[in-house]
Symmetry: C2
Subunit: 428 residues, 2 copies
């Protein structure tokens, strides 16, 4: 067997996937390490959290994706650290040597130092989060059905979303659909339309990544579906009964049995591990500052792609932590590794901004494509089309399209299961 | 508001569902109590455990099923006990009074007194079991990929199913499909076809509820797909490394990192609670002996239907714990409660045996309908047709049909996610 260039990719998200695909050549031996066995289509995670889709419909087994790419193997293992001198990745299954390393470990939820809020105010970064959140949301309606005190019932029917980014807006929209459509006929002691859905954000407006005009349009569209946005509101504390917030210099308590955290992310701890191994400082948000070719400065064989990378060269602000950044960086890093093996080189990475969109519910969305701005029904059609198109796995694509078609006509949500983690005591 | 007859149904399985549906009349107020918010189509649970279907596709929210039946409400609560003097059900949300009570709490897994095997050898009674089992099965292949020692790899690729009833046979068939079709191209360090799948059963043959001839046919069909059946084999002990068994008077250790328990069920502990409250003895298997009208002897207003009922009147052996028994008993009990309100009565319950089937994999099954027996492809077609037809929720019906059609042509399994219950340490 001849010598092959060994590429180790850490993480099977959009960045890792695209790096792997770009390295489909026989003289390279690619290993993808991930602690999960599937690639997750994160943009639709909020649909799982709100019972619109099943986990299996937005996730594809990594092995199935790379089934036919015989130069690539997938190992399900937890990566712990890096030894850059000896060029090995330290994992739960031991040392894995590399010639080129691509770190695509992504980001995780940040409670800005208040990790004690995490069990009370769940966030939405992975499948387990989504099914937990789904159980929490649906259980709130179940508790409301059993509650005879109007005050307490109102608290069960209040949903407070912290953070007005795309995730917060999408969750709010889906929650409104649940309350106004899917559950409309389901309860006997209250009307689900009485649910109060609120988004609070510390900044002066929601959807900071969009133009002022689109953010205003989004707020109007949210009001149409009974979602209230409050800007300039800071969270001081969260308890199982609700949240203490500061608004206009005043403290206030919002009675809400369901508080959802959609406010912040920070780079994976593997970023910190790599920074420490390379003796560089972590950038803002737990990210790693990368060179114009997405490599770690001083380490031309190590690349950082996706949410974990802080890429700022010649830009007003660093590239956004979205799928398209990760995909393009992955494509670039994979291609560059191949080019180098052929003795060639490649111009620096250039991000092609294909646009930005956030969905607000059935037939409502905002989209920004270059200088063009869309809102309402057309933006929603665009959003639905692009998202179904991008779903990695062909099977998922069909299922999602059909389920959506069906939901659209039936106003129903089929995947609204409350599954529990723990063993059950005796009962029905 | 005029007085209404209050019927409380404990359990939203097939028995509870059919009782509720049979009581769609304005002079009755029906309450279904269940600790879950969904009805589960249990016959397809093994498909979830083997990655063929998603949980949401074989479960339907109870509220959605009864959306339009306005005399029925669903309460998600855990039932603890019964006070038959005061006619109340004691639950986590307090006392719930009834005029008629229908207990349809079903059965649960029994390890025959060896509960310590439960964490090592998972069983398959609910969604959580199924996703746990799915993770265990898929993780075994992942571990095999990482293992370099051939002996240990062989143990990771050995799947031992304890119990040769329909569940054991169906799981074995689905496991064989995974190994021989779905995962065929997925691994680099072994061939998934090398997986050893074994069914052991203490009785002299598998599928005891079927004729000798069909059981033999099933064994032959299993051998065709590389599943080995060993009869007359008793389990003495289970460890994470495998199982100690007794066969032909000899002790033997089977190296198998995956042991699945498909051997026994026992009535829900609510059966014991009701028996204690009524001061009657529990029947065999933790069931409750019922009168010819499915009522609890001495309590004409209390009915026990489904897996928890032991119905033996004029029969060679008590009715089998299958869906059709539960459905027919539920229909009967609901109808009888209504008839009595109209001052009428009803002849004793009669079970109509519509037949019995077990699927062995793609194009393989056995079926017994009256005196007719089928096996192979035709039995499988029959099985697939009936199961898709019976899926309670219309949406599920469409999705399952399409996914199956797709799987059939693609030899793929889309829902093979390893989800975990616990919080994750840092990593990819």
């Amino acid at each position: 067997m001849s010598f092959k260039h060994r590429v180790v990719i850490v993480g099977g998200g959009f960045g890792g996937l695209h790096t792997g695909k770009a390295l489909n050549r026989p003289d390279v031996e690619v290993t993808i390490l991930d602690r999960r066995n599937y690639h997750l289509f994160q943009p639709l995670l909020y649909q799982v959290a709100t019972g619109g889709l099943s986990p299996g419909e937005i996730a594809a087994p990594l092995r199935a994706i790379f089934e036919m790419q015989k130069n690539l193997r997938v190992l399900m293992t937890e990566v712990r650290d890096f030894d850059l001198e000896r060029k090995v990745v330290l994992s739960d299954m031991g040392e894995i040597p590399y010639d080129s390393l691509v770190l695509a470990a992504g980001a995780q939820t940040s409670y800005f130092g208040n990790d004690k809020w995490s069990p009370i105010a769940p966030s939405l970064k992975n499948i387990e989060d989504a099914t937990k959140l789904r159980a929490k949301i649906l259980s709130a309606f179940e508790e409301a059905e059993k509650e005879s005190d109007p005050e307490r019932r109102r608290a069960w029917l209040t949903f407070l979303i912290v953070g007005g980014g795309p995730t917060g807006v999408e969750l709010a929209g889906a929650l409104s659909e649940i309350a106004n459509d899917a559950l409309r006929e389901d309860f006997r002691s209250f009307d689900p339309e009485d649910a109060r859905i609120m988004i609070i954000d510390a900044s002066p407006r929601i959807l900071g990544a969009f133009s002022e005009k689109l953010a205003k349009s989004a707020e109007r569209q949210l009001i149409e579906i009974n979602v209230r946005c409050r800007n300039g509101v800071r969270v001081l504390g969260i308890t199982p009964e609700g949240a203490t917030v500061q608004a206009n210099g005043q403290q206030e308590f919002i009675d809400a049995r369901t508080v959802i955290w959609a406010a912040g992310v920070t780079g994976s701890p593997l970023g910190a591990a790599l920074a420490k191994a390379a003796k560089v400082e972590l950038a803002r948000g737990g990210k790693i500052e990368v060179a114009p070719d997405c490599s770690l400065p001083g380490y031309p064989d190590i690349f950082v792609v996706g949410d974990l990378a802080n890429f700022q060269h010649g830009l007003e602000r660093s590239l956004p932590g979205v799928c398209q950044t990760a995909m393009q960086m992955g494509d670039y890093a994979g291609d560059l590794i191949g080019k180098r093996l052929d003795g060639k080189t490649k111009p620096p990475f250039r991000y092609w901004d294909k646009g930005n969109m956030a969905v607000i519910g059935r037939r409502r969305a905002v989209a920004q494509i270059g200088k063009l701005e869309f809102s309402g029904y057309f933006a929603w059609l665009l959003w639905a089309f692009i998202h179904v198109l991008y779903l990695v796995n062909f099977q998922s694509r069909i299922i999602v399209a059909i389920r959506w078609g069906f939901d659209y006509f039936s106003f129903n949500r089929g995947a609204r299961l409350i599954t529990r983690q723990d063993q059950q005591p005796p009962g029905s």
